[in-house]
């Protein structure tokens, strides 16, 4: 029979270090069913036995505050794991044992790992694991997750099946002391043996904490009549969570009493930390470091991006070969212009995702990300969010896909959805490229003025968008303020970072390939014409037919199609412009050549300058800049939020807004030029 263990612990308790050390390459990343919560599974062999390992999400407690916590609780209660390994950070033992205190009362076998013993020793703490073990009635192992040589005690303990769960009798006494008669009254109504693995003591705490999931569980079990009796008692209890919290910490104190000798001093703040959180220097430092991270993302991603941009270049010889072999031109168009280009785009894009997850993962890992959130908290509050939401905005400057997965650090779905909706205002790297190029063709150094204007409108856009969606999405109860640990600075674990980056990249690549392949097939079909002249293709004819309408927004047939094309991939806009104005090939072919050979910009510049007026160029630039991000970002958002309704609503909103802004800019510009 195979066995399974689960790793449970607060963020920064060293859970992932242990998980990676145990499982090595034998791991699998997925999602918990129905939730956007990462599920890490793996396995290892010990003395001929295969042991499965589940890395539960890092949460601060087992309350039902977030999806992560609910997933964690359900998994433990489901008893799929034989043993739950609870990790605590020995350097912050009192606080990190809260997870154990919240677990106490759940009757699933557990053991306690006192991780980071080395750090605690340096701090002057002396922890007696045997004494703690005696009081808890479970195995307690001093541990250093980084040091694989010291795993033997842990491995032998975990492979011998554990049968004991933490002794919670002292905790029960604390509850009785704090709540008096109420404790007995509530327990009388509850089933005598609790519900499943949950003891009456655990259920009592969750009930007075007004934990919605636990309340539902109890109501279903005891029926509505008994439940209303219970509710009468519970409604008389104020500040339940604070009070059970005090009991839990009193229990922790009782366990640690006589087991821990602390000769160390309090917090020693480094000079760097003072600057990182200072009112004057915190923000400039954060901006400088984030710029550095963005540059680093691109550097890490370069190998994949180069590979990605090389692929479309191979399309032409393949196309020639196919045509010579007698394949139908339409088929060749779809294959070489469409799918081939798509693969290149997707690879280049996911290369950036790889770089970004390493660079920003690094900031998180060393502990600096929390400082960024701290200094930008006030700014994010103006948008109805809090400091932790700053991350998706920064990542979006590189790529909006990275931005949307960056929202996982937020507490609730509505905060996540709002943050993504707002971060779409942030233009990605490719958007900047196109704006810079076309802007300088028409306005030379004046492009700076245009970019400043775009910034100003972006700020306004952010404000309006936060009002439009914030009202519906963020109810007052979702507008929670920041409660955040500023962890001590750590050294990064490069291996784990790269591994995580590769996983993210694979995820993005898979999704991007599907979306972009479908779209490019459609686009290459629509823009195909036998003569190769774009205006004779279906797309060209439609474009010309609706030009009277699109001209209201200052968009000609060609710029309108380029605007649509940019939804597929932002730099695609350049290619579409080149092909539609030069009448020589399909739209997709142009997308391909733009990727492999972006040097021919002077030719494009000359064509554009003669074909478009300045107001028309402006209209296109603004419509392009404020449009929704590319379809890959849309599909990433769909994946993160699991809400078709809101994703498409937000996308529609951006499309409308971009046309609206273009129309205003165009008509004002017509008066000026």
């Amino acid at each position: 029979m195979s066995s399974a263990i689960a790793l449970l612990g607060q963020p920064n308790s060293g859970k992932s270090t242990l998980f990676n050390a145990l499982t090595g390459a034998h791991q699998h990343v997925g999602n918990w069913p129905g939730k956007t919560v990462e599920k890490n599974e793996g396995s290892f062999d010990y003395e001929g036995k295969k042991i499965k390992v589940i890395d539960l999400p890092g949460t601060y407690s087992l309350a039902a505050n977030s999806d992560e916590e609910i997933v964690t609780r359900d998994y433990i209660a489901g008893q799929e794991a034989d043993t739950v390994c609870i990790l605590a950070d020995s350097s912050q033992l009192e606080r990190s044992l809260f997870m154990l205190a919240d677990y106490a009362g759940i009757r699933v076998p557990a053991l306690l790992l006192l991780n980071m013993m080395d750090v605690a020793k340096v701090q002057g703490k002396n922890i007696d694991a045997k004494k703690i073990s005696k009081k808890l009635g479970i195995s307690v192992i001093p541990f250093v997750a980084q040091d694989k040589k010291n795993y033997s005690e842990f491995l032998s303990t975990v492979s011998a099946k554990q049968k004991a769960y933490p002794d919670y009798s002292v905790l029960e006494e604390e509850y009785k002391k704090e709540f008096g008669e109420t404790y007995a009254d509530v327990c009388r109504i509850l089933p005598e043996n609790g519900i499943g693995v949950y003891s009456p003591c655990w259920l009592f705490a969750k009930l007075v904490e007004k934990d919605p999931v636990a309340m539902q569980l109890v109501e279903d079990k005891i029926g509505s009549e008994k439940y209303s009796e219970l509710n009468k008692i519970l409604s008389g209890i104020k500040d339940g969570s604070s009070r059970t919290g005090s009991c839990k910490f009193a229990w922790i104190d009782a366990i640690l009493e006589g087991s821990v000798k602390d000769s160390g001093s309090g917090l020693l703040r480094s000079k760097f930390d003072r600057i990182a959180t200072s009112k004057r220097w915190g923000k400039p430092l954060a901006i400088a470091i984030m710029l550095g991270a963005l540059i680093l993302s691109i550097i890490f991603g370069i190998p994949f991006m180069m590979l990605g941009s090389y692929i479309p270049g191979l399309a032409a010889p393949v196309a020639d070969a196919l045509l010579e072999a007698g394949a139908h031109p339409l088929l060749v168009t779809v294959l070489c212009d469409g799918i081939w280009t798509a693969v290149g785009f997707a690879l280049a894009m996911s290369g950036y995702i790889f770089g970004a997850s390493i660079a920003f993962g690094l900031l998180e890992e060393v502990g600096y990300m929390a400082r960024i959130s701290y200094v930008f908290d006030n700014t994010m509050r103006k948008l109805g969010l809090h400091g932790k939401a700053v991350m998706p905005f920064i990542c979006s400057f590189g790529c909006n896909i990275a931005g949307s997965s960056g929202t996982r650090v937020l507490d609730t779905w509505s905060q996540r959805m709002t943050a993504i909706a707002l971060s779409w205002v942030v233009p990605c790297g490719s958007t900047w490229g196109v704006v810079g190029l076309i802007g300088s063709v028409f306005f030379g150094p004046g492009v700076i003025v245009i970019i400043l204007l775009m910034f100003a409108i972006s700020a306004l856009h952010l404000f309006i968008t936060s009002k439009v969606f914030g009202r519906k999405l963020l109810k007052p109860s979702d507008r929670t303020g920041i409660i955040m640990e500023l962890p001590p600075y750590h050294k990064p674990r490069w291996g784990a970072l790269v591994k995580h980056g590769l996983i993210k990249m694979k995820e993005a690549l898979k999704r991007a390939l599907i979306v972009i392949t479908l779209i490019s097939i459609v686009l290459s079909l629509l823009s195909y014409s036998e003569s190769g002249d774009f205006t004779e293709s279906i797309l060209g004819r439609i474009g010309e037919a609706i030009e009277p309408v699109t001209m209201f927004f200052g968009l000609r047939c060609q710029t309108f199609i380029a605007w649509i094309g940019s939804m597929m991939a932002k730099e695609g806009a350049l290619g579409v412009l080149a092909s539609t104005f030069s009448h020589d090939s399909g739209v997709m072919h142009a997308l391909a050549t733009m990727k492999s050979n972006p040097v021919d910009n002077t030719a494009l510049a000359d064509i554009l300058k003669t074909a478009l007026t300045k107001p028309e160029a402006l209209a296109f630039l603004f419509a392009f800049y404020f449009n929704m991000p590319c379809l890959m970002a849309l599909s990433a958002t769909l994946h993160e939020t699991r809400s078709k309704k809101w994703t498409f609503l937000v996308a529609g909103y951006y499309v409308v807004m971009s046309l609206l802004i273009a129309a205003i800019v165009y008509h004002v510009a017509c008066l000026i030029f």
Binding site: T59, Y60, S61, A63, N65, S91, Q92, L93, E94, R95, F98, D102, E209, K210, D211, D239, G240, S241, S242, R243, T244, G245, S246, K248, F249, G266, L267, R269, T277, K279, A370, S373, Y374, V375, D377, N378, H386, G387, D411, S477, T480, G481, I482, I483, M484, E485, L486, P487, P488
Partner: protein
């Protein structure tokens, strides 16, 4: 006095935590409960309040801090 009024460098004790059950659950899980002793590290306008409690540096939203009653520990 509430936490926003606490001076930098002060050592205090939490007397009570108000707010919704959700808020109380969240703040309890980072270790802040009545009776808990803390140091005020940084308390400036327009920045979250930074305190050190139970060996941990914690940032707290300013308006939330008004729900936290504290007293000075001498």
């Amino acid at each position: 006095m509430v936490l926003t009024e606490a001076k930098e460098g002060m050592t205090g004790r939490i007397r009570s935590v108000g707010g919704t059950p959700e808020y109380q659950r969240r703040i309890t899980s980072v270790g802040l409960t009545p009776g808990c002793v803390f140091n005020v590290i940084q308390n400036r306008t327009k920045q979250p309040v930074l305190i050190y409690a139970r060996n941990t540096q914690i940032a707290l939203d300013r308006s939330d801090c008004e729900k936290i009653e504290t007293e000075v520990v001498s």
